[in-house]
Amino acid sequence: MDFFADLFAVFGRSHPLLLHMPIGMLVGLGFVELIAVKRGHQPMARLYVFIAACTAVFAAASGLVLHEEPGYESSSVLEWHEWLGIATAAFACVCFAMRLVGAIKFYRIFLLLSVVVMIPAGHFGAEMTHGKGFLWEPFETSDEPEYVPPVLPKIPGNEVDPESEDPSDPVDSTDLTNASDPENGDKPTAENDQPQIPEPILASYEEHIAPMFAARCNKCHGERKSKGDLRMDSADAILAGGENGEIIVFGMGIDHPEGAVVIEESEIYQRLLLPLDDDDHMPPESKTQLTNSEIEFLRLWLEAGAPFEEPFELGAGKQVPPPTVKDPPKPDKPKPNPEEATSAANQATAVTPAVAPTEAAPQEALLALTNALIHVQPVEPGSTMLWVDFAAPAATIDDAQAHALLQPLQGHIGELSLARTKITDASLSQIAAMPALTRLDLRNTAITNTGLAELQGHQVLQQLVLSQTQVTDEAAATLQSLPSLHRLWVWDAKMTADGLAALRNSLPHVHIDAGDLSNPEVLETEGDLVFNGDAPLVDGPADGEAAPAVADVASLTPINTVCPVSGKPVDPKYSVVYEGRVIGFCCPNCPKTFWENPEACLAKLPK
């Protein structure tokens, strides 16, 4: 019986195939009859009408069978499609009956009716498979911005390894308290030298999670289709779960606190982590996958208890232990070694995440850059933030050119290299106004303290290369005003040793590279080498006798002094062993000749 049940299901699934037959046949028939009426021809043969009616019936019947399959929840579209389809089939049957009895006038009326009913039936069907509004979509000027996957702001200790084999790896959240507010990005901090009170960065279901579900999940788990009886287009539906139960599991106050999400058991998250080829992996292998950033957003949302109304904190995890500083800076003693500052730097820096602009960079501005041979590339795939590198035309770039090229892209520049260009201090005011700039390379330019001072208080700048510039000790004030700075290069700038020491002292969390790589630190060196064969043998002689004689160094000295191939003097480093005898050659090529025909050479050797 199972076989017939399966066959039945196959019949249902051939609906997408069968439905095209009545469309073609009935519409075709309509045209034929139209011409026939006009020119007074005979009506179409009965056989054709019969077949057309049959296909309409089959299409409708298969559609009804298909409806029984899970995943097709009743909706107005489906109902309309269903009834109009049945009506089409019914009219087609009546149409055939009229043709059979020869009531040609009624036959044509019912044909017209069936075609008229079939068109909206087809339309609703298409809406089901392709989505609502599919037909007129090209005309619609979409007000909604295209979905751009959210990018998790960088928070120390909360960075997502984009390619970690297993995104479920618990993310270390020890340093989260250091996250600062991105809002006051352009507020200079000259007057408030106090460390800023970190404020959490907020996200919400409405703004971040719902659009993600809409773009990645709702095509199959939404109004139109609800595969696995699951819909993810509303809070209620998400909480209701699907045929396999709830997709977000809340703690019961026994093993997990009440109301907290048990992430390990919540399929809404766990299914994303399954291997791509796992049948249960979501989204299915062929569909667009979630980025790690999106997954991380989801995790943070769940961790916050899956709030649908209130915002949740990015970077405020379950527990927020105080930040630990391994090597607390001592204010009265300069750091002896810049290298050691690194570990502290990673711990203590308060990094304000750069906020990527929501819309893509203007195309003409990008074209202008590439036409000027300037390299431009997103800082990571899909990001609206750019890495701009002037390496190729560096020698010809001056302030005016840099200004004109960069002006339209102000908000988009994340990493900027103006190394080896002819820019001067005049360019720095423009650079200082780039809100998302995290890395700036000014190496080998004419920049001085005056220009650098423009950067005063830049909130998100993390890395700054000032090697080979005119910057002096006086720049310290500016550098101290950069809250996110944690890497600085000042090799071959105009700083004095004292100034550098003072700078390191005042910026203990910044890794400062002044090219002063310490001399090699030798921890130990071997003493005089003694060579002997005294060590016990690994494979050990069976009866414990002394190690066999191994001192026969001479055994590997060639027996000949003249190369048997070339006749030149032997160089002992090119020797081979053949039948227990060491044979020397003059060069590395002769042994190859020898091996081709050893017998021929043996005659030339001393016995």
């Binding site: 041979l373 990571e380 190496r443 790589l517 081979v576």
Partner: protein, 510 residues
């Protein structure tokens, strides 16, 4: 994740058609030749839309964003945020002896001239050069080793590499590399292309295809060769060939003497304007040929002509060291003034790196010490030690080491037993694929660590083996690529640098 599958030839062809049309107009009148963008979702989207429309005819899936690099070549772009933007690969051709440079085995000193135990050799195949030897006497290194402070319990290096010791904190030393090949040609081919048989693209070509050029005036993949002091093996052009990838991705060799690039200079009596006019005309003709045949090699030719035209300007500036200060030159050692020396090439590598070249490969020849190893190795190591340490320091102080991987590797290691005569002053070593040492620095590789262990004879790996595919996969990870997704369809298969193996070794990552 749209580009989950490597490119399909049909789609490639459509893209080429589309790209020609797009750049055909942009190419005219621009010194750059091609107005080009490396931006997802910008040009990529346009191309995608155009090709997507055509794609519908063949029922092909809609095309994902397809970035184009600075010179107009279609590239894949990284899969995720990269740590490294470029690679400087110091290939030690001929296989340096790990026993005399990196892999410290003091216990061997008291096994001098003992026979290599059968339990260690374990039936290992030998080359024709020592398979006839009746004995395999253990040859301990005659060089003293020192332990330099790194971020673990110290890095052991032989006395031949004192300068390298000064950058121990940057070096990620892998003592447990192993490979499949036992002879130079297949060994190098395997290390460069992920396959012992010739015909696959080299690492640099994959990176040219993946990352593209970041400097429209220079090729993405540059090769420089230093003639060694010791026994030298053949060096084939195909080691930097592009295999089945479009041929603009092959390595460009910079020569040390005379013109750095052959035939780059205009002939007597031809001005740059004449050259431009000629290129425009030839470009038009090639364009016509392309529209007729759709042969992608025609495009490669056009883009290489344009590249050469721009290199006429950029190469002389690149190879002129007069803007380097004395201290920098001194840091690389006295050889830096000798064109083609390892020192000069290291300095050139830094200059290329700061100009945005993605993959710079230096071949140092002459490491094949079958005999007379101590003397030849002294000279070989002497030639590389100071320059390679200087390269790392120079990159570091310019802020370039963070996003540049420096990799030093030979194609395999050398045997613990002596080939030919063994004395306390002299010995030779044969090829040994079962274990050897390579190191990397910068670009997201774990700095200041030693990874993997070999047995007391440096013959077999006892801890954390790393194979070539694994190293490639890990390096690709630093460069922003999932090695399983960076592919190209050829001969009916999606080919990868890591072939069918490899995984990212997290321990090697910073």
């Amino acid at each position: 994740m749209e580009s989950h599958n490597p490119p399909d030839p049909l789609r490639e062809r459509e893209l080429l058609m589309t790209r020609r049309r797009f750049f055909g107009t942009a190419a005219k009148g621009l010194g750059a030749g091609f107005g080009a963008l490396a931006l997802n979702g910008l040009l990529g989207k346009e191309l995608g839309a155009m090709a997507g429309g055509m794609g519908g005819l063949n029922g092909l899936p809609e095309l994902g964003p397809s970035p184009v690099d600075a010179v107009g070549n279609r590239i894949t772009g990284p899969h995720f945020k990269p740590k490294a933007k470029r690679v400087i690969y110091l290939h030690m051709e001929g296989a340096p002896s790990q026993l005399d440079l990196y892999d410290y085995k003091p216990g061997l000193r008291s096994r001098f001239n003992q026979d290599l135990p059968e339990s260690i050799r374990d039936g290992q195949r030998l080359t024709g050069m020592t398979s006839g030897q009746t004995r395999f006497p253990v040859a301990p290194s005659i060089f003293k080793f020192s332990r330099y402070k790194n971020n673990q319990d110290g890095l052991w290096l032989s006395e031949l590499l004192p300068h390298t010791g000064s950058v121990a904190k940057e070096i990620c030393m892998i003592n447990s590399m192993h490979t499949e090949a036992i002879n130079h040609e297949p060994g190098i081919t395997f290390f460069q292309t992920g396959n012992q048989q010739p015909g696959r693209p080299s690492f640099g070509s994959w990176m040219s295809y993946g990352l593209g050029s970041a400097n429209a005036n220079l090729p993405a993949f540059v090769v420089m060769i230093t003639q060694g002091i010791g026994n030298m093996q053949a060096l084939s052009q195909r080691f930097w060939g592009s295999g089945f990838l479009p041929s603009e991705h092959q390595g460009c060799k910079l020569r040390s003497g005379g013109d750095p690039v052959l035939f780059l200079r205009n002939p007597e009596g031809v001005s740059r304007e004449d050259r431009r006019r000629m290129l425009d005309l030839v470009g038009d003709l090639n364009e016509k040929e392309y529209e007729r045949s759709f042969d992608p090699e025609v495009q490669s030719r056009i883009s290489q002509y344009e590249m050469a035209y721009r290199m006429q300007m950029s190469v002389p500036e690149l190879t002129d060291f007069s803007d380097e200060d004395e201290a920098t030159l001194a840091m690389y050692g006295p050889d830096v003034h000798k064109p083609g020396s390892f020192a000069a090439n290291c300095l050139m590598a830094r200059r290329l790196a700061e100009r945005g070249v993605r993959f710079i490969q230096l071949y140092m020849r002459g490491w094949d010490q079958h005999g007379n190893l101590p003397n030849e190795l002294r000279a070989q190591a002497g030639a590389i030690d100071q320059p390679q340490a200087a390269l790392i320091k120079d990159l570091k102080r310019r802020g370039l080491l963070d996003d540049t991987i420096v990799l030093s590797a030979g194609e395999f290691g050398r045997t613990v037993y002596s080939q030919g005569t063994l004395t306390t002053e002299n010995y030779g070593r044969d090829h040994h694929p079962r274990c050897f040492s390579v190191w990397a620095a910068g670009g997201g590789m774990n700095p200041g660590i030693t990874y993997g262990k070999t047995d007391d004879f440096s013959y077999n790996i006892v801890e954390n083996p790393v194979d070539v595919h694994e190293l490639h996969a890990t390096l690709l990870h630093c460069l922003g690529f999932n090695h399983e997704r960076l592919g190209y369809r050829s001969q009916g298969r999606d080919m990868r640098l890591t072939d069918v193996g490899g995984h990212v070794n997290q321990s090697l990552l910073a």
